[in-house]
Symmetry: C2
């Protein structure tokens, strides 16, 4: 017959840490502490299997459970030298749920169980006030949890009592007043349930255990499980444990502590305690707790015991622990131990130092730091001591913090910055023309656009703080002001942004600069040692490329050439190309662009010092390169030497209903092959020039938006022709690669055919997500917030790859692609490439590399290492 009840206490436990499935997390951990010889209030755990049997058996206990519980109680009685139901020295229990995984606050708890009109006498002997207060709390909790008596009825009664006693706090009620309140509570209980409050402790215990089982299937627990993917048949264990009281007398107390400093990671015992207090008093902050080192003076023996215990726990769990303890009547009990939460800096320091101490190995250290946390270490942040009230909140589009004066146009941002001013660029949304202004600003704030809007993507690439989609912002460009509610700010006013939370503050917040310490570098080296995927960066400029190399990037996975089209006077040539009504005129305009592009690529190749560089040919629709205001159009007509009507007609003809799904990417080059021919020529000429200087460059030319192999085939032929001619003209000979983005669902679905023509795939998961979901990232802000509120989406699908839907396409394309081209290189260059969960997914489906914005390179390195440690290929 199965064992239903597991005892723990007095230096022996039936269970241990690895029995979480049977005993739940809490039960297994209590057993483990006991086995380590650590003092824990004795008790016993009823297994999760009993819960399952309870439901299978019409809410009845299985045969034999009652006997096992009785026996376990005897053991506890022996360990505590108290008796359950003893009027002289009663043993009291807490009854708590405990599932395999933590479901905080979802299920029920009953404390002080075992108090009756008889047993209270034993407690009264110790402290009358404490005794009646415990009893009234028990009646309320039991009535609420076990019998479903309205919580408010009890609350109203105690409020009435306080009013009559003319006091403010519960703690000011006298023992007599509390005794009366117990009577009132018992009446409330009887009125609500039709029964007297049970005076049999055993009946109390059965009721509480059943209540915990039943709470496994309460509404909020069911919803929580559904949301977190926890199976309903796991069931919960029930932990019945001796009550200990830190508020019993002057040699009682309670505290919480960490085995190392959770803010800095420094290796010393760190915590707080309060004498004559219960756990919640430390947290509540009614009295100021003492530093843990004061306990050394106040109770040296207890402190010595505690010190031995914390060292033992850290050695045992091999991680920084967050512990809770209670001292009852001069005796120390440990109530909980668990891995402690910590800041990024602390996480890195603890992980590295624990390796140096020989406590853990490098692989374990890698797993100890959450990659996402590293972001804190790479950007300035708002001083945690800064106490501002946010004016509004947008999306945390690019991490870090920024302080500056409000400006409303890119031109002003540049002008003010030249005058030495720090500015925040405030726009409804940004466009490629704003790039210069964005670069000049400390941070960017937009009223529209999501996590992957233009502003967000560019800002992340620049490592610049950005808050996007702050919908409450009403910008009035003509008056150079913006309003949030009734607060109006004007050009030149100071504001502060927190790009990691989306908060916007009026005024100047104090900032903390990032610190990349030696420990950081050590951890990153270990990550590089164990990871199996390459890490590249998305970089369009030599500056970005250099920064990314400093952060450890091993190549460029995505260079977007279109940003180059806006620099200096190039836009004039671009517009000539767009206005051209013959192929010849178009070729002439492109010829003007060629030297610019060539020198761009030379700089980029140089910055990457021979590391691979993937260059994506022109992707955005042509209308992004033409002006849309009357004034700018007039200016353009002047520059082009044509009529304003001609400009307007062209701009109009380029308008599209859904530009995202329009004439862009390789579709442009199907219509105008000469555009890609020029770009291919510029790339090959740049490589030839550097080849002569001794660089060893293998250019990777990437064609965007392919949906059918015929598109790739058609353009590849043209590019190969140009490459051949350029190599011949330069008497050069080196290899180059031609590959494609996989960003249209159909490309993923037909990846086997496409792989035959491609040297590499790069998954463009931004567009792939947009098309697979049918979500325009520029518009989704308006409804995604409703989805989040209604829990219809767990996370932002533009930040973390949707593995179920979009991910299944990626997986399919990887398999299909490899089936026809086993040597194909596979990468990802969407925004998701810097998201740890996505990086793990990419490792698991077998990608060759991930590419992300420069500032996320360290995050991706660590995430890739973790994936490799957990699931080596």
């Amino acid at each position: 017959m199965a064992k239903y009840v597991y005892f723990f206490g007095s230096g022996h436990a039936d269970g241990q840490a690895n029995m979480k499935n049977l005993l739940g997390g809490k039960g297994a951990n209590l057993a483990e502490m006991v086995n380590l010889g650590i003092p824990v209030p004795p008790g016993f755990t009823i297994t999760t299997e009993v819960c399952t049997l309870y439901y299978a058996n019409d809410h009845k206990w299985p045969e034999g459970l009652e006997k096992e519980v009785t026996e376990a109680i005897s053991k506890v009685e022996k360990a505590m030298d108290k008796k359950f139901g003893d009027p002289n020295n009663p043993l009291l229990f807490s009854v708590r749920s405990g599932a395999r995984v933590s479901m905080p606050g979802m299920m029920d708890t009953v404390l002080n169980l075992g108090l009756t009109d008889e047993t209270i006498k034993g407690l009264v002997k110790q402290d009358e006030r404490f005794a009646y207060d415990s009893y009234r709390r028990f009646i309320q909790m039991y009535g609420d949890v076990v019998m479903g008596v309205e919580h408010d009825l009890f609350e109203a009664a105690i409020e009435k009592a306080k009013h009559e006693a003319n006091v403010h706090y519960d703690s000011e009620l006298t023992p007599k007043q509390l005794q009366d309140l117990v009577k009132t509570y018992k009446e409330i209980y009887k009125n609500a349930t039709g029964k007297d409050f049970p005076q049999d402790p055993w009946e109390q215990l059965k009721g509480a255990i059943n209540a915990v089982f039943s709470s496994w299937n309460n509404d909020r627990a069911i919803k929580y499980r559904k949301l977190n993917g926890i199976p309903g048949d796991w069931g919960t264990a029930v932990n019945v444990q001796t009550m200990v009281y830190g508020n019993l007398n002057d040699i009682s107390g309670t505290g919480v502590a960490f085995t190392r400093n959770p803010a800095t990671g420094e290796n010393y015992f760190y915590g707080e305690y309060l004498m004559k207090a219960q756990g919640e008093d430390v947290v509540a902050g009614i009295r100021t707790p003492h530093k843990i080192e004061d306990l050394k003076k106040e109770m040296p023996a207890i402190y010595a015991e505690l010190e031995a215990i914390y060292l033992k726990l850290e050695q045992h769990y091999k991680d920084m622990q967050d512990i809770e303890f209670t001292i009852e009547n001069g005796k120390l009990f440990m109530l909980q131990t668990r891995s402690g939460k910590r800041t990024a800096a602390a996480a890195v320091r603890i992980a590295v130092e624990m390796v140096e101490e020989g406590l853990i190995d490098e692989k374990t250290a890698i797993l100890r730091v959450a990659p996402e946390q590293l972001d804190q270490l790479l950007h300035p942040m708002i001083d945690p001591n800064f106490k501002g009230t946010p004016l509004t909140k947008g999306l945390p589009a690019s991490p870090g913090a920024a302080v500056g004066k409000v400006v409303f146009t890119a031109q002003e941002a540049e002008a003010w910055q030249e005058k030495g001013e720090k500015v925040i660029l405030v726009r409804v949304e940004t466009s490629p023309e704003d790039i210069g202004g964005m670069a000049s600003a400390q941070g960017i704030l937009t009223a529209r656009g999501g996590m992957t809007s233009h502003a967000a993507v560019v800002a992340r690439g620049m490592g610049k703080c950005c808050v996007s989609g702050a919908g409450d912002l009403k910008v009035d460009f003509s008056k150079k002001t913006f309003k949030v509610g009734n607060t109006e700010l004007k050009e030149g006013d100071w504001i502060s942004l927190n790009g990691s939370t989306g908060e916007v503050f009026v005024g100047q917040a104090t900032l903390i600069e990032p610190q990349v310490t030696g420990n950081f570098a050590k951890l990153m080296n270990w990550a590089d040692k164990y990871r199996q995927m390459g890490i590249r960066t998305n970089a369009d400029t030599p500056e970005d490329a250099s920064r990314a190399r400093e952060f450890g990037a091993e190549g460029i996975g995505l260079c977007r050439t279109e940003h180059m089209f806006f620099k200096d006077n190039r836009i004039i040539s671009v517009r000539k190309m767009i206005l051209a009504d013959t192929e010849e005129k178009r070729r002439n305009a492109l010829e003007e662009l060629l030297p610019y592009q060539k020198s761009d690529f030379i700089e980029l190749f140089k910055a990457m010092k021979g590391l691979p560089v993937t260059i994506r040919l022109l992707d955005p629709p042509l209308h992004e390169f033409v002006p849309h205001t009357d004034e700018e159009q007039a200016q353009m007509a002047k520059e082009m030497g044509c009529s304003v009507d001609e400009v307007k007609a062209k701009v109009h003809s380029l308008e599209e209903f859904n530009p995202m799904l329009g004439h862009r990417g390789c579709r442009l080059a199907i219509t105008y092959p000469e555009i890609y021919e020029m770009q291919a020529k510029a790339i090959m000429e740049a490589a030839c020039a550097l080849n002569k200087e001794g660089y060893d460059i293998v250019p990777e030319i990437m064609i965007p938006l392919v949906g059918d192999v015929k598109e790739l085939h058609y353009l590849k032929e043209k590019i190969e022709q140009v490459a051949k001619e350029t190599l011949a003209a330069n008497k050069a000979s080196f290899s180059y690669k031609i590959g494609t983005m996989i960003e249209v669902p159909r490309a993923a679905l037909t990846a086997d055919a496409i792989a035959k023509e491609a040297d590499f795939f790069s998954f463009g998961t931004n567009d792939l997500t947009q098309m697979t979901y049918g979500f325009s990232r520029d518009d989704a802000g308006s409804f995604i917030k409703d989805y989040m509120e209604k829990k219809l989406l767990d996370s932002d699908v533009f930040a973390t790859l949707d593995q179920t839907g979009v991910g299944s396409l990626v997986k399919y394309a990887v398999e299909k692609g490899k089936s026809t081209n086993p040597g194909i290189k596979l990468g990802i260059c969407g925004e998701h490439g810097g998201d740890p969960a996505t990086v793990a997914f990419c490792h698991n489906v077998g990608l060759t590399y991930v590419s992300c914005s420069p500032f996320r390179v360290p995050i991706a390195r660590l995430a890739a290492a973790q994936a490799a440690v957990k699931n080596p290929r």
Copy 2:
């Protein structure tokens, strides 16, 4: 050892019709005719296997082939009583390719083979002019095809000869002049090849056979195979056949004929012939051919023989035959027989009459009519005798033809029509507000938009002729004119549209009205008997619904509720709903719409007389319901009792970058559940009202744009609540279904999860195609034409489902959906539902029904029947 050569002639053939893989189509068919006892010029076929060996063996003949060819020639000599190379009575050959499937014009042919300076003497005896003309043709063809001598060199020589002879036509050259030309040709040959023209007929034959083999791998043949998916290793057979000459003398001639009238299907011998002529003369139209019945008088014996043959061929092939014959010196030879092309009317009549004659069975009759052809029978068409030159050509967006006067606005279309004028509505593009005008017009012409643009979809639904995306059209609304090149047309000018070809004509074309004869109905009944899929229609109005029922629809697969929102004054309530800034105001506005929607649904249910009706809840983004011009916005502000600024602000806030991927479909209802609640209530109240009148209605409520099961679950709960309440309030009890569109790729990818919550799936292949390809159908017109020109797309993916990409998603979703919900109903309601290839695909992947616009219902019925006959489930 394999047999390489198959003889045919003199009433015996080694091969037969079912040996196409080995003998090619032509060879197998010639053998078949011989086996039927039909006179065919004797010859032999060298198998496709030899072609494969030829390539495998470095362009050498396999061992034994030469012997078999020699033996076959002997048999032909015996059959013809002529000798190959005989100077007195030479046997001459044609050498032709013949693959398994026809590859017209892709490979090479040599005629008159066997002529030399010796053998010509035998021919000269018959007719000197004919002899030299044949010889000079042979030298040219052999030089060109076998030796690669420039065709132009010979052409220049004959031009020179004609110039010197001062004549216009080749046929005016005298025998002597032709004899000289032969000499010149031989010199050209020698200059180009360095060799004398071969005087050994056997050498000629070997060269010609090898040339045919080689032509299997010429550039155009390779391209053709690639385009048509023909494997390169099939190879071609070579047919060596006795030359016969219809131009030999006065008792020679040639003709083409059909066993029934290919225009009407009437059952009589129909054709033309010319005496003393070659095949191409009949086609070329230099002389007017005679009717075939005249041959009865001219050559009664030959006619009788021909009559017996045509009857035998039709009986044998059990289909109307298109035959070619030649009479050489009073002897009849059949050169070819094949199934004849025919008009839709003829196809239907022939199929039905052949069943009645007992020649074929009903299933065969079903397969004999191309479903697409039926369209001709359902719409007016331009008289084939109308000889206009198209002004321009757009996309054939909705079939049929229309003649009317140009108007430029929907309002004018309605006004002119009320005055009794026939009008064509000319727009840049149409929007839902134009519906009334479209209904009033004879046809619609738009300058922008593809095959599935608003104009196209609505016009097809109305069965109205539409030409869309006529990009050459420059419309000037202010002047009420449009221009194509230099031609300007103004309001009131007559134009004609051919919606089946996309042609636009100036002036009034004559039209032919559709005729749905008794044979049509018979064929449709057989189709219904054999098909295994249901056929529904997409219909939004009782008129559409009734028409579709007349065409045989068995239910409504898609009723778009949004069109109803524009009728009468409803748009005011819709706009109130949109402007509402609280849920209460929104609910009030929706409350106003409820009775309208309810009565719409009552009418629709009535029109369908209890057949199933699937109603799609609101799909388009809200900005489609607000006005976009200043004038209209001012009008709206007046109606709403609010400021113009408020209207403008709202309209602005609804603007989206990519509305296709924006806040629409179920996403609207996630934000505003009250919209779907109102619609569900209207549907259920309508069903309750009719239920009381004895109708048996099972409403099918369809939720659009679902991408994740959570969306469906959330909305389904709300709809079920409304349904329960409505049934209770009406004391009614009947079942209803709630299902979803599968139109977002992610829905297809997660169909297993979605199917658990859905009673039915309806594949919305329009949107599914847009998102899977990343093609916006409203914008794709600008680049799809380049794709078509460059052969990067075989067909319009919005007309015929892309089975490789989009189809694989449909198939995946069907399998996944059935895996979790085996009883799920599966339909398609995209525009593709009326495309025969797509209907066959739907049958094969196991859909329950297809739904298409009313006018395509008969097409879908026939296509579904064909699919079921070919591949029964």
